[in-house]
């Protein structure tokens, strides 16, 4: 078999089951997450050496588990792993052997791993990145880019969190249902950060890196599968799908940024919008509204423009009002002000924005974009120009920056 085919097989195994393999090994290595990762890394290296010569095994995952388990035992013999793991490693050995022999799929331990990563004993700033790394196998550098911190600092944060898991003896189990919503929130935040950082790079046609949004959608699907009774993961997936459905419409022929209300709806993906709406309906049957469900519902009202040609602004205002009772997030208040202005005029929007004051707004780009837009609609051009300059100075994305500059001239 050609070397590239082998590479593809290894990449595919890594892509599809890395997190499953890590979770499986961690569950059987007494929660030693780092040891499980190291062993699996070595197993992948071994695969790159052996598979080209021996062919791809019938059950690649089982092969990787067996190999990783051997590495764990080896490193333990060299005294690198503490002895209390010995018994558990033997269990892992037997499990792996059974797995290799049987036709059954191996158990999915990723949900348990997610709950470990979001345990209250772990530094809150590490929970979301750690979840991304453990479940998706994203490397520290990409996670660092998504959260805009230095890769060295992110690595350190992850390493500290992992040793805390081991040192504090954080249990590797699924907590009672009452703890689910709070823990899942960190996981959903992580996925949404990944989605948005991918979305931003997709605005840039020169960027070779447009995979993170797709990965986030994939993760969203995984979370729905792992926690099928929770409504918020359904909302998160629906929200991402609605945004993702518009990716073809966000840029003009010249590469320029096109804001939502000016997008051509025929470029939106119908199947994705339909899937998103179906997810929102499913979530609504649980009768527990949440932030992601509401944001998805707002996007669903926008999506309806593709069919009706109209936007039901009063409906959007009502969703934002409910959203503001659930979250103090500034984004909800900005969205509320903008949707009110669509019904009652720019001055009403500005009046709503007036209530959003304080240090929070001084460096909040969407606030200044909304401000600039409303002041311009109200004919207050001098103030609007000042707000545009502030928004431009806070913008990272070159297409959005160019758009704002042209709006201001």
């Amino acid at each position: 078999m050609a070397a590239t085919e082998i590479d593809h097989a290894i990449v595919a195994a890594a892509r599809d089951s890395y997190s499953q393999l890590v979770a499986f090994l961690t569950a059987r290595a007494g929660g030693d997450f780092s040891a499980a990762e190291d062993a699996l890394g070595e197993a992948f290296l071994a695969a790159m050496k052996q598979w080209p010569a021996e062919g791809i095994p019938a059950k690649p995952e089982a092969w990787l588990i067996t190999t990783a388990r051997r590495r764990l035992v080896d490193s333990q013999r060299r005294g690198e792993t503490r002895s209390r793991l010995e018994g558990q490693l033997l269990v892992a050995l037997e499990d792996a052997q059974e797995l290799a022999d049987s036709e059954a799929d191996f158990p999915d331990e990723r949900l348990r791993l997610l709950f470990v990563c979001t345990h209250p004993a772990i530094d809150p700033s590490a929970r979301a990145p750690l979840s991304l790394q453990s479940v998706l196998g994203l490397d520290a550098a990409r996670i660092a880019s998504a959260f805009l911190v230095s890769p060295a600092a992110m690595s350190q944060r992850l390493v500290r969190a992992k040793s805390k898991i081991r040192a504090a003896g954080i249990p590797f189990h699924v907590p009672g249902p009452e703890e689910w919503p709070e823990r899942l929130e960190f996981v959903m935040d992580a996925i949404y950060v990944a989605f948005n950082s991918g979305w931003e790079t997709m605005l840039d046609p020169d960027s070779p890196d447009d995979g993170l949004a797709e990965e986030a959608v994939w993760l969203g699907r995984l979370l729905v599968r792992l926690a099928p009774d929770e409504p918020e993961p359904l909302g998160l997936l629906a929200l991402m799908l609605h945004c993702h459905a518009r990716r073809q419409a966000r840029r003009g022929k010249d590469g320029g940024f096109i804001p939502l209300l000016r997008q051509e709806t025929r470029l939106w993906s119908k199947p994705m919008m339909n899937e998103a709406d179906e997810l929102i309906r499913q979530a609504a049957t649980r009768r527990t509204p949440g932030r992601f469900q509401l944001e998805a519902a707002i996007q669903s009202v926008h999506a309806a423009r593709a069919v009706t040609g109209l936007i039901d602004w009063p409906m959007i205002v009502r969703f934002y009002e409910t959203l503001m009772t659930l979250t103090p997030a500034i984004g909800a208040r900005i969205g509320h002000a903008l949707s009110r202005s669509e019904i009652h005029g720019a001055e009403e929007g500005l009046r709503c924005l007036d209530s959003v004051k304080g240090s929070l707004i001084s460096e909040h780009q969407p606030y200044w974009v909304a401000m600039a837009h409303l002041l311009k609609s109200a004919g207050r051009l001098e103030e609007s120009s000042e707000a545009y300059r502030k928004a431009i100075g806070l913008t990272e994305n070159p297409a959005v920056r160019a758009f704002l500059i042209s709006e201001n001239s």
Binding site: L148, V149, S150, A153, D204, S362, E363, Y388, R389, K390, A391, I392, G393, L394, T395, E396, N397, P398, R401, A402, I405, S406, N408, S409
Partner: protein
């Protein structure tokens, strides 16, 4: 903590400064960015720089002066300017670095400013 943001731009990007069609958008982006950093209260100092072909480089080797036109080494990305900002930590410095127009056209390097060395006795 003080950090220096070094704005590195491509030759194409620097050329926009003197292109009648592209200069307005180029300067609009930079002046909005500089204005926003200034009003944020984080600005310590900073300046834009003339392009590298206006540079003159001096070296002393074996007691001899050597004076050259231009920068010491040619490179694809050129230093277009710098700010020194005072922010609580590296994460905040990175946020400001990402907002610089050079981040999407060239790069923005972030370096902690060295505190003054201890006084010599």
């Amino acid at each position: 903590m003080e950090y220096m943001l070094l704005f590195t731009e491509s030759a194409e990007e620097l050329a926009k400064r003197n292109d009648p069609e592209k200069a307005p958008a180029y300067w609009a982006a930079w002046s909005a960015y500089a204005g926003t950093v200034a009003t944020s209260g984080h600005m310590v100092s900073g300046a834009g720089l003339q392009p590298p072909d206006t540079a003159t480089t001096v070296r002393i080797r074996d007691g001899q002066r050597q004076v050259h036109d231009g920068p010491y080494a040619e490179s694809k990305e050129m230093l277009g300017g710098f700010f020194v900002i005072d922010v609580p930590d590296l994460d905040t410095a990175l946020e400001w670095a990402a907002r610089a127009p050079s981040a999407s056209n060239g790069s923005t390097e972030v370096r902690p400013v060295l505190p003054p060395p201890p006084a010599q006795s």
